[in-house]
Amino acid sequence: MAALAEAQPAKPSLADSIDPSTTESLKYKAERAAIDRSLRGPVLCFIGGAIFWLLLGSLFALIASIKMNVPGFLGDSAFLTFGRVRPAHLNAVGYGWGAQIAMAVGLWLMARLCRIEVRHGGLLYMAFGLFNAGVMIGILAILGGQGTSVEWLEFPTYAALVVFAGFALVAIWAVIMFRFRQPGHVYVSQWYILAAFFWFPWLYATANMVIFILPVQAAVQGPVNWWYGHNALGLFFTPIALATAYYMIPKVIGRPVHSYYLSILGFWSLAFFYSWNGMHHLIGGPFPAWLISASVVASIMMVVPVITTGINHHFTMVGHFNALRWSPTLRFTVFGAMCYTLSSLQGSSMAIRSVNQVTHFTHYTIGHAHLGLYGFFTMIMFGAIYYIVPRLVEWEWPSASLIRWHFWLSAIGVSAMFIVLSIGGLFQGFALEDPKISFLTSTNYANAFLWMRSISGIALTAAHIIFASSFALILLHAGVVRRRPTLLDRPA
């Protein structure tokens, strides 16, 4: 064993000598290397596919955003009209990027935490093929005018079935990995991933089933639509991103998560309250008051998991905030975790009826959606990719400045987008509430803000191009052989 300890490349630091969790035998390190190798192909495919859809989705977003100000822009081709490009954007980034990167990161985290190599990884390539074929068919169908026009479920049924098959295969693999896990403690990230891989297929299948395949009565489709739309965010994207943050923060700073009890409270309160959310989108609609009020209350109660998780992450980080200066993963993850607190508290406030009356059906809601899915989910996923990919391709990121550019363009871009859409949305919302102001005037109030939104969207697109180049370079093993990680700054 002494010889094994000597095999560690670096001299133990003071932290290593105090905290046994930071010094591990080579055995565990080799075990991790073996796990990473078993997942290398499938996870890299999923990440690559996700980045492809991220780029395409950004392009759709830019086109749709410019059309807000210049309605005639690219208006001559039917497939590039707003009614098609906008759902194409949503589905490309929601499923192509969001769900796919969630699968990649979820699979990797699950394997790492279950300490198990993936078995029959070849089937995961099939899942990759199915999922991407499904998304491709769906996007083409939307552009071709066959979208269903049900928000978040625009894919026609034949595409949705293929997407579902691909996703279900990944979910089954994650569950099987969990079954074969090494004995021992089940870490909080595993709860979230396992739950998310159960919840999403259930949500997606149920919503498609009762809206398209065996449609329920027309008015009831509204609640089903919003139950799905909201819970896909809360019971899939959110738990995957939280699982990632719960893994990456303690992993990078080498310190246990603040409180196991807070983790439990956060997980179960999310599971319990989130599933009630969604009906607050139907305030003013033809639905019984209790249905909507229950959703409003559940949205307000979301403060519980959010504050709990926020406290847990914050107190884990305390004393290590200087690590944000040098660690790319930590910087993206902590930015995302902060956006989680912000966007969730904002979301709770937006469910309150008097606020909802002003902000719903305005750009304010769009700002909120980007703060949640981009500021929170996507930023945490970026952080995870910066951690995972070097371990899979066994190469360090070729350029720290590319990562720096990516971070600042993304962070500033999404913050700016959130701020301008919120302000523009409020102007628009108060004007809509005023019967003396015509509808046309109320939309004009947001014009200047929509231009600024397009500019922030260009910043985000640039960030994605930089990120994709960085990913291509690391795949090609570009640059010099580095024996140290690619850090944003010299560690203190």
């Binding site: 010889a3 490349p9 080579l26 992993k251 080498g254 409180s259 519980v304 709990t308 884990t316």
Partner: protein
């Protein structure tokens, strides 16, 4: 060199052997075999066990209390027929679903469908569209004719208040339910200076049944005039002339 062999481990032992051999030889561990990122990586995350602060529990309890009060006030008593947020709605004596009178319902439908010809004043347009206000066709004691016109339409010359009009009244049979037609008729028989009795929806249903054969073919005035006042319809309450104080107008007589 033997390595500690954990039977439960899924470790790739060859990998360890390789790394181990290299470190024995004094060379640096080959990054292509065990990448630096793996070597420098911290252990897998573990849990701390700090208790949950009392202030956290207290704040959440207050939040839950607020939400309970909110549900009590705004959930409409968990009544599935109550669509109103307002406190007290749904309880006995509360606001509850609004009932619209047939007259008001008729006014709404009239405004949406009829005013372009017959005008909001019910006076029609001279020479083009006949008036409804004071019209013997509307307020007369033969509402079966009025119902028939609304159901299947009217074409050709018709004399109203001494003027001859030649137009085409649309058929509404497939557009409106009995209840809607009854509401419109109730409205035009009671609006402006008209004071004839309401038309119940049962009368419309009966008339719809009796005039099935006419579907698709508008009536002519002569055809309608040949139609005697229908006792069954009158019995349902549609045509017992004007209520007390109203000026009773005679239905147009066949010439």
């Amino acid at each position: 060199m033997s390595l500690p062999n954990d039977p439960k481990s899924v470790v790739n032992h060859d990998l360890i052997e390789d790394c181990f051999r290299e470190s024995e030889l004094g060379t640096e561990v080959d990054v292509t075999k065990l990448h630096g990122a793996i070597l420098r990586e911290m252990g897998e995350p573990s849990d701390g066990h700090e208790p949950i602060g009392l202030w956290v529990v207290g704040s959440f309890a207050l939040l839950a209390l607020f939400c309970g009060v909110y549900l009590g006030l705004y959930a409409g008593g968990f009544d599935s027929t109550n669509y109103f947020f307002t406190p007290g709605a749904g309880k006995p004596g509360g606001a509850g679903p609004v009932q619209v009178s047939p007259f008001d319902r008729g006014k709404k439908l009239y405004t949406a469908n009829c005013v372009s010809c017959h005008q909001a004043t019910g006076l029609g347009q001279a020479g083009q569209f006949p008036p409804l206000d004071g019209s013997e066709w509307v307020i007369g004691d033969a509402p079966n004719r009025l119902i028939a016109i609304l159901l299947h339409g009217l074409n050709g010359n018709v004399t109203v208040k001494g003027e001859v009009y030649n137009g085409a009244m649309a058929a509404w049979e497939s557009t409106f339910k009995d209840e809607d037609i009854a509401a419109i008729l109730t409205y035009i028989r009671g609006a402006w200076s008209n004071k004839a009795s309401p038309v119940p929806k049962e009368a419309v249903a009966l008339m719809r049944e009796k005039t099935k054969a006419q579907k698709g073919t508008p009536y002519t005035a002569a055809q309608l005039l040949a139609m005697p006042p229908d006792s069954e319809i009158l019995k349902l309450g549609g045509g017992d002339a004007a209520p007390a104080g109203g000026d009773k107008a005679a239905a147009p007589k066949p010439k």
